[in-house]
């Protein structure tokens, strides 16, 4: 088992508190530049796209360090990795000078059909072997650290041979890659599938967490749905607080993809996240430096749901 990733992680820039690049609220985002340290973008919206999208990404790259968070790599799919996708992704990562790139531990396509959603994988040994091989290929190809995000899932798939944290941990260790820990997804899954979210955090290899996502969700009758369309709830802030003191994290990012409120509300959420990170004595994130840095100063060559 290789630990090369951990050496790479040490060289990654501390990005601070970030937000998602969304066309609908781009102007407000740029105006709040002094409250946001970095931006995350969905590469699929910019890969092989010109015009306004391209101009927006260029404008964002001028003003903020950028990182990429993909939706359609489909790391768990039994389809071949899409070379066209990888090629376009690499080009976009280079153009945006991303310090790292991430995508989800899921499958998003089958038999060439892209469902445009994040479908869960069975927690099986076969899935682990399959995903590990592909992560190595991706990480080599994109020439920068790759992070996997834990997803929200609403049903377990047949064929499980272990629980979620065992599944995630084994993949991270065997593939020697990083984790983008989404604390909202941990919370959503803990409620929907009945486990203790803090225990989940305790069981995963925290040293591999490079970035944290935090977001809002929606409660339906039986299920909590990860919508990124509502304010963050206190229980998720609490989980962030629990986690932040235990990890050496390079960036914490607020996700908001729909049902956009007045931007002042976003600012309040960002400040709350900053306070949690700042006031937590265990937090190893160098926030002051992040607040003033304009670009990722990474010597390692340098993302939403």
């Amino acid at each position: 088992m290789s630990n090369q990733f951990l050496t790479l992680k040490n060289k990654l820039p501390d990005l601070g508190i970030g937000f998602g690049l969304r066309r609908e609220i781009a102007d407000e985002t740029f105006e709040a530049k002094d409250k946001i340290d970095f931006l995350e973008f969905a590469p699929e919206n910019y890969m092989e796209v010109g015009g306004n999208a391209k101009a927006l990404l260029e404008r964002a790259a001028e003003a903020f360090p950028l990182i990429s968070h993909g939706l359609c790599l489909s790391i768990g799919s039994t389809d071949d990795l899409n070379n066209d996708y990888l090629k376009a992704l690499k080009k976009t990562l280079d153009q945006a000078n991303c310090a790292w790139a991430s995508d989800h531990l899921c499958f998003a396509s089958f038999n060439g059909v892209y469902v445009q959603d994040l479908l869960p994988l069975p927690f099986s040994k076969e899935a682990i072997e399959h995903v590990v091989k592909r992560i190595k290929t991706v990480q080599d190809y994109i020439e920068r650290p790759f992070l996997l995000e834990n997803i929200s899932y609403y049903t377990s798939l047949p064929g499980a041979e272990m629980n979620e944290w065992q599944f995630i941990s084994e993949i991270l260790e065997k593939a020697d890659c990083g984790l983008l820990l989404d604390v909202n997804n941990v919370y959503v899954n803990s409620v929907n599938h009945g486990f203790d979210p803090e225990r989940f955090v305790d069981q995963i290899p925290l040293e591999r967490v490079v970035q944290i996502h935090i977001a809002g969700h929606k409660k339906s009758k039986k299920t909590i749905i990860d919508t990124h369309g509502a304010p963050v709830v206190q229980a998720v802030y609490d989980l962030l607080e629990y986690t932040i003191g235990r990890v050496d994290v390079k960036g914490v990012m607020l996700e908001r993809d729909q049902n956009f409120p007045n931007f002042d509300e976003i600012i309040v959420e960002l400040e709350k996240i900053r306070n949690i990170c700042d006031s937590n004595p265990g937090s190893k994130m160098d926030l002051k430096k992040c607040g003033t840095s304009k670009k990722a100063k990474s010597d390692v060559q340098a993302v939403s749901i």
């Binding site: 699929e44 919206n45 015009g51 039994t78 089958f110 047949p158 299920t223």
Partner: protein, 273 residues
């Protein structure tokens, strides 16, 4: 019984979340390998995935084809579902989900085409807006030189906006779109002229523009797109053959036209030929 492989699990999961009929059959036990496989999945959760996926797909397609959606009205969702069954999303970019709708209408439009014979052209027109907005092309603009001498006229030609597409429609699509936008009933008159349209991305705003073209403008642009032509070539090949007897008037009209095309961003400069 051997346990299902990752590929089999992905295949059945993917099928039941995107296909309502397959979902019903699966949970009634007809298509599952065993009752236990169906029991391992939560029916309500599968419905939720299906709703979330369907919502995303429909939302993207609705936003790209507002005219077609308005025209077809309450049956629109059924049409979109049928389209997605026949042309499942095969690209990573969400908007590309709508790229083959014009093809679908032409091939499978059936009774809709009988009712609205211009539907395929309307779909083409609406898709072009998105396609050109997103096209991965940098519009390269050059300086526009002044055509103040016969020499300059022969030596220089226009640079055509690299995103510009011209279409000759059998139906008055821009007029139909105006009616649909204003919620007015459009009554098609069979004697209406064909419409010539230019669709392009503006080099500065990056937004798409639609222009109805005169016959002259259409010919000039078509010629300029086909061959690297000087203004003199354009005049001789695209203007003079259609100009009647007054050559002087034709030249004046041509000069006015090229200026307009430049101002509107269809031409984006001049170059030496």
């Amino acid at each position: 019984m051997s346990k299902p492989s990752l590929s089999e699990i992905e295949k059945s999961f993917c099928t039941i979340v995107v296909d309502g009929k397959a979902r019903q059959q699966f949970f009634s036990g007809k298509k599952s390998k065993s009752k236990s496989e169906a029991h391992a999945l939560d029916n309500e959760a599968i419905e939720l995935y299906s709703e979330l996926i369907g919502y995303g797909h429909h939302d993207a397609i609705d936003s790209i084809y507002p005219g077609c959606a308005k025209l077809i009205g309450e049956k629109w969702d059924e049409v979109v579902d049928d389209y997605l069954q026949k042309y499942p999303p095969n690209h990573w970019r969400l908007n590309m989900i709508a790229s083959r709708f014009p093809q679908y209408v032409t091939k499978h439009g059936g009774t809709w085409l009988e009712q609205f014979p211009f539907l395929a052209e309307l779909a083409d027109y609406e898709w072009l807006e998105l396609e050109l907005m997103e096209k991965d092309i940098q519009i390269v603009c050059t300086d526009a030189c002044t055509l103040d001498s016969a020499e300059a006229f022969a030596k220089y030609g226009p640079v055509v906006n690299q995103t510009l597409v011209i279409r000759q429609y059998a139906y008055p699509i821009p007029k139909i779109v105006d009616h649909l936008e204003a919620d007015e009933l459009f009554v098609y008159q069979a004697d209406e002229d064909k419409t010539k349209v230019a669709i392009y991305r503006h080099p500065e705003t990056h937004f798409c523009k639609f222009l109805e073209l005169s016959h002259l403008a259409y010919q000039v642009i078509a010629q300029a797109q086909m061959h690297k032509s000087s203004f003199k070539d354009l005049l001789e090949k695209a203007v003079m053959p259609n100009s009647g007897s007054d050559a002087q008037d034709a030249v004046v009209k041509f000069l006015e036209l090229t200026e307009k095309l430049q101002d509107l961003g269809l031409f984006v400069g001049t170059r030496k030929i």
